[in-house]
Symmetry: C2
Subunit: 379 residues, 2 copies
């Protein structure tokens, strides 16, 4: 089945909209947040817990799964969905970002990229065609074109070349696409240069991808620059395709980007921060190890409907965290995933009811109102 | 409510029997295995997962909970059951074993034991009375008298004194018992000296405890010596009280001890080994990281009814383990806890149907039949 996207509802006050993406593994509504299942597991939780927390779509890493356990192995065992026991939609990134952030001694040519594994130092070559083959073997529902994720401090000349390379690679990925059940997204690069973002977007849009991602953001640029680039680039992308902002981010960044017309997000923040004892609440962040929670019988957040808030106290969660119990990482992760899923659901509801502007005002107001946070504090 | 014990069925071919223990937090049948919730969490799993795996009763460590987060804190938050979200029966050990195995610079006097915390080096004093207070604050259903767990290589004179001290402490624990909802067990010591085991057992039995534990075993003695001591000591204990073999053990040791009339067991083996990638099957142990499982789509054990075997392949579990995913430790633990719970349930069924001897023969025969193990191997 071809992956389908349709706009369900356009907000009146902003570019925000509700969309629906239908895949062979079920459908999900956008704006959607995708937790990261780096190596074929959402760190800290099981698939059924993620589902219970409201997760509908996840992201897995091509780079990691290619290196370990290998895409051919996963294919042989029935694909990534079966391998990891996740029956919902999966998006796989192309590995571009990890090659630049994790691997060693990478060499980029027009043909592709040669790099050394961060696990064992072995040498590998990934081309656009190879990345498509890997993602096909994994059986993801949405796959990404290989891009060059240029360094944040790259100069204009470097970035110009990089945008050109990314466009060539995107074209080769499109040409190598064989499986119609997999939607293919192109990735807009260009750093913080508006004219390069424009060049990149125009080039990709002319190829008619199933969706468009904004790459190379959240790599060190300040928030207002990022917002400017998102706003500018979003205008260049067609409204009948989903737009995905890669690697973003905080609840604040997500809400801001939804208002700019972004539909999909992924980030390690909810899961990684959970493992570091940082919990999300509507009033801000809560650091569970703080002494003030030692005897606190309250849940992480009153009124939260997650499994953890229904069964465990802050005092117990603090104890588990200080005792390095595995259960600490897991319970924290369940809560944060629930928080993110619920936030997305509330945003969609607000769009549906034409009150996203009001929702956004309340969202930020609650966070600044720190005297009511029962000790929750911003990191 | 007073904790009650009754023998439901006596085996014909051995001392084995089915018993029932009724507590304020539900009842469980013996022979029973108690997974260890060291610090108020069964390592690697949640309470509901343990229940789903068939766990009915758990053990928590007085020593650990006293040091962190503190028994008064747990009492204030409603007791250990509520704190850790476990609604079934809990047995707490007295801390004796941990004081000798974990703490530093311990000094034993007739009054009690002074030791330094293994966590922060702080100095603490535990007396029989204090240990009873701690266990009362925790709210366990079954509590243990404070004992001296003498070194395995202690000579006869040391052990003679130790047995005397353990008896005095047991008497003081009994005198300090205030809560009838908590059953109190005495701990028989005496190392591998039959006459000291006899002295210890006779002394404790005269005090009419709610149950009797065999302590100081599985501390380095060989299996035949241990079996001899269990057999000998068990004969000295009343048949109308439950008998608990502390810190034991492997499936083989448990089955052997059930045949000698032991009713209760605890051990870190199923949970700790799980975290080390060692899985139990009816055909022996399976080391999940072994290369032979790399592409193995089979579950840990065909026919196993656990959640893990119903949803995940050996190949995936191996991948998770090699990638150090938290989910690896958890899924492995679920399987091992299920294996242990199922084993106990099968033993009880065999006793009920007067075929424990046959069950025991089959149990050992399956394990020696290694060519059928699909790669399962004994560590």
């Amino acid at each position: 089945m071809v992956v389908k996207y349709r706009v369900v509802k356009q907000a009146q006050s902003s570019k925000a909209r509700i969309g629906e993406i239908i895949t062979d593994h079920g459908k999900f509504e956008t704006p959607a947040f995708m937790p990261v299942a780096t190596a074929g597991a959402i760190k800290g939780v099981s698939p059924d817990e993620a589902t219970d927390a409201g997760v509908e779509v996840i992201l897995a890493n091509t780079y990691h799964l290619y290196l370990r356990p290998g895409h051919r192995l996963i294919e042989k065992l029935g694909g990534l969905h079966r391998f990891m026991n996740w029956s919902g939609p999966i998006l796989t990134d192309s590995g571009g970002f990890q090659i630049y952030s994790l691997s060693k001694l990478r060499t980029i040519s027009a043909d592709g990229v040669t790099f050394r594994s961060h696990i064992d130092g072995s040498t590998h070559f990934l081309s656009p065609e190879k990345v498509m083959e890997i993602q096909s073997a994994l059986g993801a529902d949405i796959v990404m074109a290989l891009d060059e994720c240029a360094p944040a401090n790259a100069d204009h000349d470097y970035m110009l070349n990089s945008v050109g390379l990314t466009e060539q690679w995107a074209r080769r990925c499109m040409a190598h696409k064989k499986d119609d059940a997999q939607a293919l997204f192109g990735i807009v690069q260009g750093g913080t240069y508006q004219e390069l973002r424009e060049m990149s977007a125009i080039g990709l849009v002319s190829m008619n991808f199933d969706g468009y991602a904004l790459g190379g953001l959240s790599v060190g640029e300040d928030r207002s620059t990022r917002e400017k680039i998102i706003r500018f680039t979003r205008e260049l992308l067609p409204d009948n395709k989903p737009v995905y902002l890669m690697g973003v981010g905080t609840p604040e960044d997500i809400l801001g980007s939804v208002n700019l017309g972004v539909d999909m997000f992924d980030c390690v923040i909810p899961t990684r921060n959970a493992r570091n004892g940082m919990l999300f609440t509507s009033k801000g962040k809560l650091v569970i190890k703080n002494a003030q929670f030692a005897e606190d019988s309250a849940p992480i957040e009153e009124g939260c409907g997650c499994h953890v808030c229904s069964h465990y106290s802050r005092a117990y969660l603090r104890h588990l965290f200080l005792a390095n119990e595995i259960l600490a990482y897991r319970l924290n992760t369940i809560h944060n995933l629930y928080y993110y899923a619920k936030l997305m659901s509330k945003m969609r509801q607000a769009i549906r009811e034409d009150r996203l502007a009001e929702f956004s005002r309340d969202f930020y107001a609650q966070r600044s109102n720190t005297e009511e946070t029962r000790g929750a504090k911003t990191l």
